[in-house]
């Protein structure tokens, strides 16, 4: 049986969203130049880039090799080549 998360969990989630949003707003332009068309994984605790790779599954592997869990990092794709979406 699954237990619904608490209201504290909801507030933590929002705080996490704000922290991640602020992080990428600050670093996205620089990382876009440094890691074009790659996924970048940055540690949540200190913001250091721990891995970059065009392959998402490879990023998961590299994060683990650094001794981190996927939930300890932020991962985002640096799209240097503009995407035209038709979802």
């Amino acid at each position: 049986m699954s237990v619904a998360p608490s209201s504290a969990s909801a507030l933590r989630s929002w705080a996490a969203a704000e922290a991640e949003d602020a992080f990428w707003r600050e670093h996205y332009p620089a990382y876009l130049k440094a890691y074009p068309d790659q996924f970048v994984a940055a540690a949540k605790d200190d913001g250091r880039v721990i891995a970059a790779d065009p392959d998402l599954l490879r990023i998961v592997q590299l994060i683990r090799e650094c001794g981190l869990d996927i939930q300890q990092v932020w991962v985002r794709f640096m799209a240097a080549t503009p995407i035209s979406l038709a979802l």
Binding site: A17, L56, I83, L85, L87
Partner: protein, 148 residues
């Protein structure tokens, strides 16, 4: 009032995004924040692999194994047809101070299996969620508002 923004980082034109907390019973213990692209052309909200793997923390091998997912739904789009996994979900929409504006517990979310081309796509907030709001977008100011 729930506020999003237009994000131009990855696209020719800016697209509307909003942060929503989601909980997938039996998969997540806590709410997880997802930066959804608002998509009025999407019937049901979905999580793409960047978020299912990177945020919800589902193992890539589990996502690739359709036998592990008893509920499936096939959807058609410009890129063809895709069969997604369907899972119960709770969605929380937040005011700007973080307090909860709306909690939706009666809907599902679709998990899109990874393919060679979809790993960098954003997760999409479809009409199953957008029908609860009045949606206002101001491209010039970069603001998106979901009003109850």
């Amino acid at each position: 009032m729930i506020t999003g923004r237009l994000n131009g980082g990855n696209y020719w034109y800016r697209h509307p995004f909003v942060w929503v907390s989601v909980h997938l019973p039996t998969i997540t213990q806590d709410f997880v924040p997802i930066d959804f692209m608002i998509d009025t052309g999407m019937t049901r909200s979905c999580l793409h692999p960047q978020d299912t793997i990177g945020k919800i923390a589902i193992e890539p091998a589990a996502l690739a194994d359709s036998a592990r997912w008893p509920r499936k739904r096939t959807a058609g789009g410009i890129g063809g047809r895709v069969t997604n996994y369907v899972h119960d979900a709770q969605y929380l929409f937040h005011h700007e101070d973080g307090s909860v504006a709306l909690s939706i517990t009666t809907e599902t979310i679709e998990l899109v299996p990874p393919t060679a081309t979809n790993t960098a796509y954003p997760s999409l907030l479809g009409m199953d969620m957008l029908r609860y709001f009045r949606l206002r977008m101001d491209y010039a100011s970069g603001i998106v508002v979901l009003e109850l």
